[in-house]
């Protein structure tokens, strides 16, 4: 199984490289380091959100409220910044992570303590959080001139050739890798998604693990709320509408099994980059940006078909329970 996953990541890298090379034949500068860095920077927020989504999906759950969480937190932080320009940026970022984590904790609590299916919980909180963003702002916008320069500029500051936003994403990728592969929580997340019964026998508290995964996803969504508002220099109710699907898509493309327990940080990052490259390439090769939605749709469907082939064992127990070697090879 491990080799299979490795194959998938190498395959994804190959596909992304081929795509970039292909686009570069149509547009000179597409493969230039500056443009690639630009694409990475553009995809940073998606990468951050996809990693949170991945932690949740690993535990056999799904978080559809990330984009709404992002919108609410972004609005809250932007309004705070507009109302109290003297507050230090660090405090605002802590505030964003805190609000996001709190909203994630609400999801997690409902899933953990009340055992409501995650998809129902987060479908509900998706509308609630976005509605709250409207209530909070009264439907108004926070525009660039109301935000302080440091609030707007810090994620754009170049450090060693890359903007701070990209560095934040890189830092979080490393952090997520560490948390998911080197900490007990990561093991617990894989175990409670991969085989819940075995996880319980191994003494893992599945509910608590799910709760933590939702808090993590919420915290990352909160941070992304600040990053999004700062990057696009505007906050309104509908920012990032539908973005939750992109995060799920990134995970699915990256080989994270929607049934839980399977997937790697590298996969999620590559899945996000795959979408990022396509998104940035469309205008370059002269395809209407309106086509982007359909293309991600096709990509998601293809990725699911592809994943299912890799995970055939899970879907094929019927009447063949004893013929395990067929699928596990």
């Amino acid at each position: 199984m491990n080799r299979l996953l490795k194959n998938r990541e190498i395959l994804l890298v190959a596909i992304i490289v081929v795509m970039i090379a292909g686009f570069a034949t149509r547009a000179e500068g597409f493969a230039s380091p500056a443009n690639l860095a630009n694409i990475f920077n553009d995809t940073s927020i998606l990468i951050i959100l996809a990693l949170g989504q991945m932690a949740v999906i690993l535990t056999k759950s799904i978080d559809l409220s990330v984009a709404a969480n992002l919108a609410f937190t972004g609005m809250a932080v932007a309004m705070t910044n507009a109302a109290y320009p003297d507050l230090p940026l660090a405090l605002l970022i802590v505030l964003a992570i805190g609000i996001g984590a709190f909203l994630g904790a609400i999801n997690g609590y409902l899933v953990w303590a009340l055992q409501i299916p995650p998809i129902v919980v987060t479908l509900g909180t998706l509308t609630i959080y976005r509605g709250m963003a409207f209530v909070l702002s009264g439907g108004g916008w926070v525009n660039a001139h109301q935000m302080t320069p440091s609030f707007l500029n810090v994620p754009r500051l170049p450090v060693l050739g890359l903007p701070v936003l990209s560095w934040i994403a890189i830092f979080i990728v490393i952090g997520a890798w560490f948390v998911l592969t080197r900490l007990p929580f990561g093991r617990a997340a894989y175990a409670s998604g991969g085989n819940p019964t075995a996880a319980v026998y191994a003494g893992i508290d599945i509910g608590w693990t799910k709760f933590l995964a939702f808090v993590l996803s919420g915290a990352l969504a909160g941070l992304s709320g600040y990053l999004w508002v700062s990057r696009y220099a505007v906050a309104y109710v509908d920012i990032a509408a539908g973005f939750e699907l992109d995060t799920v898509a990134a995970c699915v493309i990256g080989g994270i099994s929607i049934a839980g327990g399977i997937g790697s940080v590298a996969g999620a990052v590559l899945g996000a980059l795959f979408l990022g490259v396509i998104k940035n390439a469309l205008p370059v090769i002269g395809i209407s940006p309106f086509a982007q939605m359909a293309i991600s749709g096709i990509v998601i469907v293809l990725a699911v078909v592809f994943n299912a082939r890799a995970e055939k064992k899970a879907g094929r127990i019927i009447l063949r329970d004893r013929a395990v070697p067929e699928g596990s090879a």
């Binding site: 409501i116 479908l123 319980v200 749709g297 998601i300 299912a308 019927i318 009447l319």
Partner: protein, 335 residues
């Protein structure tokens, strides 16, 4: 927290009396809620108790409820279709394009329904043919179907529909009973019969309760699931005809977010999201509850997005209540 408490098939030592069971049933509780909301609305707004206003209120939910009936069957069978709103968008866009080409009303209706069926068949093939998880598949097709609408329309809109096409969304059959309301009632009866009085309906429950057992009992699981997706696509197509006719125009963002409201309606109607349980009667009452809530709030000038907070809360609270009640029951039994 233990596993036994969470399984949906836990069997109590003894059942309550028949009356107590009926009184405690989800449908009766929900009906009580509907009556309460109705009374509250009647007091809150002087415009509420008017036959024409109430008739108008039904437009809030009839189209969504048509899809919710098919979705209820799908959810009972343990699957879900999140692409329904996108199917509406694609069907509506196709109808719009056909209308611009001068096709008449019967042709438009046929096209809308055919697109719905085709989309449903596509979902069904992916889920039952390739055995893929429906939630991801339909998240993908949701992007795909609506994405095609965006490619076709971009930021444009179709507006020129034939005059007699307006009947489906704006016409009245008798007095205050609109075509949509009559269709809603007819479909409710048809789906109730399909689910509660046919072999097919039993198969749906069996698949939702225990797919393995269903296979071993010779139920054609994949075929049933395929038909359910087809049915959901068909209903989305019908809803697309009604909605397009009612609005008289098509934008690619048409029916945005409806998948959520449809699922909410289904779950609010007492259909278990884990599959295996639920009734059409529950979905019908849930449709009325949601329609009344949004219409009442509308009369009170509450903006749509704030209403969506209520819908979201309604969804979570209605699912949480029975679970919390069960907890209390277990605690009082000293478990």
């Amino acid at each position: 927290m233990s596993d036994t408490a969470t399984t949906k098939r836990a069997i109590p030592d003894r059942l309550g009396t028949r009356t107590s069971r009926i009184l405690a049933s989800w449908e009766v509780l929900l009906f009580g809620v509907a009556v309460l909301i109705f009374v509250f609305n009647a007091f809150a707004s002087p415009y509420f108790l008017n036959a024409w206003n109430l008739s108008d209120a039904t437009f809030n939910f009839t189209e969504k409820a048509m899809i919710a009936f098919a979705m209820a069957l799908l959810v009972i069978a343990g699957e879900i279709d999140l692409s329904v709103a996108a199917i509406i968008a694609l069907a509506s866009t196709t109808m719009g394009a056909a209308a611009q080409a001068g096709i008449g009303t019967p042709g438009l209706v046929a096209i809308g329904i055919a697109v719905g069926l085709a989309c449903g068949a596509f979902n069904g093939l992916l889920v039952s043919g390739l055995r893929l998880p429906s939630i991801v598949v339909t998240i993908g097709t949701m992007s795909l179907f609506r994405g095609i609408s965006y490619i076709v329309l971009g930021d444009q809109a179709y507006g020129k529909y034939p005059a007699d096409f307006a009947f489906f969304g704006q016409g009245y059959v008798v007095w205050v009973f609109s075509f949509e309301l009559v269709l809603f009632i007819t479909l409710a009866i048809a789906f109730a019969i399909l689910l509660h009085a046919t072999n097919f309906g039993r198969h749906v429950y069996v698949i939702g309760n225990n797919e393995f057992a269903a296979r071993f009992s010779g139920i054609p699981v994949e075929r049933v699931k395929f038909i359910l997706f087809l049915l959901t696509g068909l209903m989305a197509g019908v809803a697309a005809v009604c909605l397009t006719s009612r609005l008289g125009s098509t934008r690619p963002s048409i029916a945005q977010g409806w998948e959520l409201e449809v699922v909410t309606m289904v779950v609010l109607g007492g259909v278990s999201i884990l599959g295996g349980a639920g009734t059409i009667a529950g979905v019908v009452i849930a449709a009325f509850v949601m329609g009344l809530v949004t219409f009442g709030l509308g009369l009170l000038n509450v903006p749509g997005i704030v209403m969506s907070i209520f819908v979201g809360l309604l969804l979570i609270i209605t699912i949480a209540i029975p679970i919390v009640a069960q907890r209390f029951k277990e605690m009082s039994l000293g478990k």
